[in-house]
């Protein structure tokens, strides 16, 4: 066998051995050792190359091609095995690192907004988006703002129906004006209009006034403290059709469906005409059920066109301007929306109730 043939045979056998060894390598480390063993400076291929110098010059390019081909084949074999092994090792690592993703995550407490807060936020947001400005007022009020300015003079039967909490004399000695816990958020209407006018404002004025109110009444269906939102708008030519439009928009947005509304003539001293507002029962879609007592309607709030005496009490010309107003009970709306059966749950503050009901989607 000539020198060149012998070298060729060596290369071939080296290539075969190497590829077998690569394929048999168990991990990337072993493969790396094989790379050194075959392709390193002192590796097997280098050993073979030493024989090239003994060849006649004419044979050298021929064997050179063979050597390059073997080198490429080994490199390709190495790369292929490396890819396979890397993939295998990755899979093994992933398996080893597998966790039970159904285990609970680490949390910091179980925070939730109170459902009444959620209701207040939702309601205020709907009106804010309609251009109503949020206003607040004191909870300890005088009789003027809570009653007189709202067209409820002292002898008015409606005054007795308010179950008012009175505050003990606050002045020292001298008999001072009686103070009370506001029975509704309507006094904010008076205070806001007065302030607005005092600051040189002129209607239009559109206000939403959320807050706590108090009635001296405590049983299954009454809480001595609850939340109301007062909404009013004063402008030229504000009409009852506008009142109905705003109610419809608000109630449909709040209940996230197209709810039917029904206005029934009613009486409130501070509005004329006045109307109680019903919505088509959200539980039975108006077919009649236990909640709506078979009527298909649920009473949700009181409303009306602001009484001229109320506008005049703050100095707004009722000939030029008109307005609508309504007041809604937040707890009632939240109860209807979330199916909460008992008003007292809101103020018991049982964390099991709160953490479930306070979810703000």
């Amino acid at each position: 066998m000539s020198e060149i043939d012998s070298l060729k045979a060596q290369l071939e056998s080296l290539q075969a051995d190497a590829l077998n060894a690569f394929a048999a390598a168990e991990n990337l480390n072993a493969l790396q050792q094989l790379r050194v063993q075959y392709l390193g400076k002192k590796g097997a291929l280098t050993e073979v190359l030493k024989g090239v110098g003994k060849l006649p010059p004419a044979d050298r390019p021929v064997i050179g091609q063979h050597v390059n081909a073997t080198k490429s084949a080994l490199a390709a074999g190495l790369d292929a095995c490396e890819t396979t092994l890397a993939e295998k090792e990755k899979i093994a690592r992933i398996e080893a690192e597998r966790i039970d993703v159904s285990l609970p995550g680490r949390t910091k407490g179980k925070g939730a907004l109170h459902p009444v807060q959620n209701g207040l936020d939702e309601i205020s947001t709907i009106f804010s988006q309609m251009g109503f400005v949020v206003a607040e007022g004191p909870e300890i009020e005088d009789e003027f703002h809570n009653f007189d300015a709202l067209n409820i003079p002292p002898e008015h039967p409606a005054r007795a129906m308010h179950d008012t909490f009175f505050v003990k004399e606050m002045g020292n000695g001298e008999k001072s004006e009686p103070m009370l816990l506001r029975t509704h958020t309507s006094p904010v209407q008076i205070r806001t209009m007065k302030r607005f006018l005092a600051e040189g404002g002129e209607p239009p004025l559109a206000v939403v006034a959320p807050g706590r109110v108090y009635r001296c009444d405590y049983d299954v269906t009454h809480s001595p403290m609850f939340h109301q939102v007062e909404v009013f708008k004063v402008d030229r030519d504000v009409s009852m059709a506008h009142l109905k439009g705003v109610l419809k928009h608000f109630l449909s947005t709040y209940f996230e469906k197209d709810v039917a509304i029904r206005l029934r003539p009613h009486y409130f001293p501070f509005t004329e005409p006045s109307a109680e507002v019903d919505i088509g029962c959200v539980f039975c879609a108006g077919k009649g059920c236990r909640i709506c007592k078979g009527s298909g309607w649920i009473e949700v709030l009181g409303s009306g066109m602001i009484h001229p005496n109320v506008l005049q009490s703050v100095g707004i010309d009722s000939e030029e301007f008109s307005g609508f107003a309504f007041g809604l009970g937040v707890e009632r709306l939240v109860m209807l929306k979330q199916g909460i059966p008992d008003l007292r749950l809101f103020f018991e503050n049982d964390v099991r109730f709160l953490s479930r009901m306070g979810v703000n989607k």
Partner: protein
């Protein structure tokens, strides 16, 4: 107010069904609380004849009846009553009947004997609140007939809630008038006939000195009556209308009041001395009211008196001694108009409510004063005999609600303005409905003049006319229109409680009133409490000055219900008198936190951990940071209700903005909370608005970080240490914090090992070893000099 359908039909020939009438009433503004259907409620209950009665073989108190209800075979019925005999006629609820109490009649066995129906008492038929035994029907009751038909039970009773402005509808005729006008039906004329006067009788002598409060007063004597029970038909009417029969005379007056709306009163004439005076009280007069109360009257109360004493608090209640009894033979009848505001005020002062006062304070029809007197006289004489004097009349009914010229009240309005403000056109035909309701209308182009009938005290301005039109047309006819939207930018929402919730706290809402003793837990005794005059209970009698008592109660409530830990937040107001300004108060918006018990639960990654001071401090700090604020926590041992050594003032800027600390152990254990309780409170009104962050270029060169560990005396505060580090380290310092704290083995008593990690950075170059060495040396020197602290590592 309960109104039987048949009574309504006495005034107007209604043809609609009860449910249609109920809808009409609602549309017209009369709230229908319920429609009772007494006759329909007993469908299936038939007249039965007891054919035989035998004792139950197995039960002493039961009988076996065979009852003929007109069918081919008599029914076997086991009955527990004892007041019936063979041959009696009784109501029998046949199989399938549902009684008013919800009981459904089914075939069944009672102690082994078959029963195919049920014999009924009055209670079971919904006819009485209680009854003894079965209802025994008259012998001529037709066997097999529906009992509801036979007893002529009412088809429907409307239970109405009349609004305070519609005094004119607190009677059957008023409601009938609205319904008739709406349906286009005529209102029947009142059937009145003249009273035969007994000329031999002296007229009642009456003087009215309080003409303002009593514009018209009528009185008449009726002599020689025999007071008997009122007839059955009248008693039935009263009961259906929700009134209890009293005696014949009172029943007649009540019937007229329910029918026409005019309350009347009858005095026993033989108990009166001298003439009758209607006057304003001087104050101090004693009064024995019919309800048994002994009152001392206030100046200004409107009184009816005789020469000896007060015989009635006008329009509200008569006196006990002068009331009509079964033995009364001579009476004085009173019919009057009393000023609503006067009645309302007096009634409120004495917390007295009567059917009469409810009507007077809403305003009765002055035109009805004489009519009621005439009708009552006729009915009393018809039923109980006697003869009547002429009527003594003081004042003039025409003066009530009239203008200066004596004409009825007129309201001038503009049709177009009403239309604009209702948002709907008014069809001219609707005027007819108002006319049928008693108004007189005159249209002159856009101008509208409305004469208001005497019974409508609630109509005096154009808006009232607008309401009449709206309810007659129907609120449902008004379109739904969105008004032009204002373009005001919405204010930023207060995120205080939301941020706390995001940090894991559960929001609660407590009542704003607490007990006086709870108030004293965290607030010292002073004059600034605001107490309620009429609290629900002692536990809810003072306006809170701290949110903590409410939070503590919430914690107790929940920890008593197996919660191992609570993290709560509440936002709301606290209330106190203003020290500086007389008769004024402050309402301060605060946010408060409470943590107690497990703040971390036993979990797959770790063990439970109880809340401590630093959990809450961290939460409060994070909350402040979110609003661009920095809090300083200054130890303060003097805060009421908090444990010394674990409490601090919270300063934000220079203002004292809040408090934080551990609730005194005695307070916690008095509430049965056995884990440490931490609370914090921040006055939201005292917070300045945080600064909006402004852009600062991010550092281009890397910084270095170094740790130093020192041994400090325990009394040294970490805040002082870090301040000293900051001033020692120079301008390149960007952060310094305590990263380790150890006082275990190897640390001498009274000392603590603290690890301080500080970071340096320069905007212009990469820092070197030398830089951090220099800073470290400066810090080590400062710690030694300021605190005598030794470097450990």
């Amino acid at each position: 107010m309960k109104i039987p359908f048949s009574w309504l039909k006495e005034h107007v020939a209604l043809t609609a069904t009860p449910m249609q009438i109920a809808d009409d009433l609602v549309r017209l503004g009369h709230e229908v609380e319920a429609v009772e259907m007494p006759r329909a409620a007993v469908v299936g209950v038939r007249v039965g004849l007891i054919a035989s009665k035998q004792p139950h073989p197995d039960a002493d108190k039961l009988s076996l009846l065979k009852v003929d209800v007109g069918d081919a075979e008599a029914l076997d019925i086991v009955c527990g009553a004892s007041n019936m005999d063979e041959g009696d006629k009784i109501p029998v609820a046949t199989l399938g009947t549902v009684l008013p109490n919800g009981l459904k009649i089914k075939k069944g066995k009672i102690r082994g004997e078959t029963s195919c129906g049920m014999c009924c008492s009055e209670t079971e038929l919904g006819l009485a609140e209680d009854s003894a035994g079965l209802l025994i029907l008259p012998a001529d009751a037709p066997v097999g007939a529906e009992v509801g038909d036979y007893l002529e039970l009412e088809e429907a009773v409307f239970d109405l809630s009349i609004t305070p402005n519609r005094g004119d509808c607190m009677n059957v005729r008023g409601i009938a008038r609205d319904l008739a006008a709406d349906a286009g039906l005529p209102l029947n004329d009142l059937d009145l006939h003249a009273v035969a006067l007994d000329a031999s009788l002296a007229d009642a002598v009456v003087t009215v000195s309080a003409e303002q409060d009593c514009p018209v007063y009528m009185a008449r004597r009726i002599q020689g009556i025999t007071v008997a029970d009122s007839p059955a038909w009248m008693q039935a009417k009263l009961i259906q209308a929700g009134q209890r029969p009293v005696n014949g005379v009172v029943d007649v007056l009540n019937t007229i009041m329910l029918d026409l709306g005019q309350p009347m009163h009858a005095f026993d004439a033989d108990t009166l001395s001298g003439s009758i005076t209607v006057s304003s009280a001087q104050g101090g007069e004693p009064f024995s009211a019919l309800d048994g109360r002994e009152l001392t009257l206030n100046a200004g109360d409107l009184l009816v008196s005789d020469n000896a004493s007060v015989i009635a608090l006008a329009g509200i209640m008569g006196s006990e001694p002068t009331g009509v009894r079964e033995t009364t033979t001579n009476i004085v009848l009173e019919s009057a108009f009393f000023r609503p505001a006067r009645i309302s005020e007096t009634r409120r002062v004495y917390a007295m409510v009567s059917e009469a006062s409810m009507r007077f304070e809403r305003g009765v029809d002055p035109a009805m004063v004489a009519v009621a007197m005439q009708r009552a006289t006729n009915m009393i004489i018809d039923l109980f005999g006697g003869s009547a004097s002429a009527v003594t009349v003081c004042g003039d009914a025409g003066n009530v609600n009239a203008d200066a010229s004596g004409a009825s009240r007129k309201v001038n309005a503009s049709v177009s303005r009403i239309e604009t403000r209702l948002g709907i056109e008014i069809p001219v035909a609707v005027d007819d409905v108002l006319v049928r309701m008693g108004f007189a209308l005159q249209r002159n182009g856009d101008a509208l003049t409305v004469s208001v009938p005497s019974f409508r005290h609630d109509v005096s301005i154009p808006e009232d006319i607008s309401e009449e039109y709206a309810r007659v047309i129907g609120f449902d006819k008004i379109p739904e229109l969105l008004p032009p939207l204002a373009t005001t930018a919405p204010a930023r929402q207060d995120r205080s409680v939301h941020d706390a919730v995001g940090a894991g706290f559960l929001q609660v809402i407590n009542y704003a009133f607490i007990s006086a003793s709870e108030q004293r837990l965290f607030v010292p005794q002073d004059d600034l409490d605001i107490a309620l005059e009429n609290p629900i209970s002692d536990a809810m009698s003072v306006m809170r000055r701290s949110v903590w008592p409410g939070l503590l109660n919430t914690a107790r409530y929940n920890m008593n219900r197996q919660q191992s830990g609570v993290s709560l937040v509440e936002q709301g107001r606290v209330y106190l008198k203003n020290q500086k300004a007389e008769n004024s108060h402050d309402e301060i918006n605060v946010i408060a936190w409470l943590m107690s018990g497990d703040v971390e639960q036993d979990d797959w990654f770790g063990n439970a951990r109880q809340a401590d001071f630093f959990d809450l401090k961290g939460a409060v700090n994070a909350w402040l940071t979110l609003r661009g604020l920095t809090g300083r926590f200054i130890a303060d041992d003097s805060m009421q209700g908090l444990q010394a050594g674990q409490s601090a003032k919270i300063l934000v800027g220079r203002a004292e903005a809040g408090r934080i600390g551990r609730v005194d152990g005695d307070i916690a254990s008095s509430l049965d909370i056995d884990t440490p309780v931490f609370v914090a409170e921040i006055n939201l009104d005292a917070l300045t608005t945080g600064k909006q962050a402004k852009f600062v270029p991010l550092p281009e060169f890397p910084g270095v970080e170094r740790d130093l560990v020192f041994l400090f005396e325990r009394t040294v505060s970490s805040e002082a240490i870090l301040n000293a580090v900051k001033s020692a380290a120079g301008k390149m310092l960007t952060d310094a914090r305590i990263f380790d704290r150890y006082d275990g083995k190897g640390v001498p008593d009274g000392f603590v090992s603290l690890g301080i990690r500080f970071a340096l950075q320069d905007g212009k170059r990469t820092l070197t070893q030398e830089d951090s060495d220099t800073a470290s040396q400066a810090i080590i020197a400062a710690m030694d000099k300021r605190f005598g602290a030794m470097l450990r590592a």
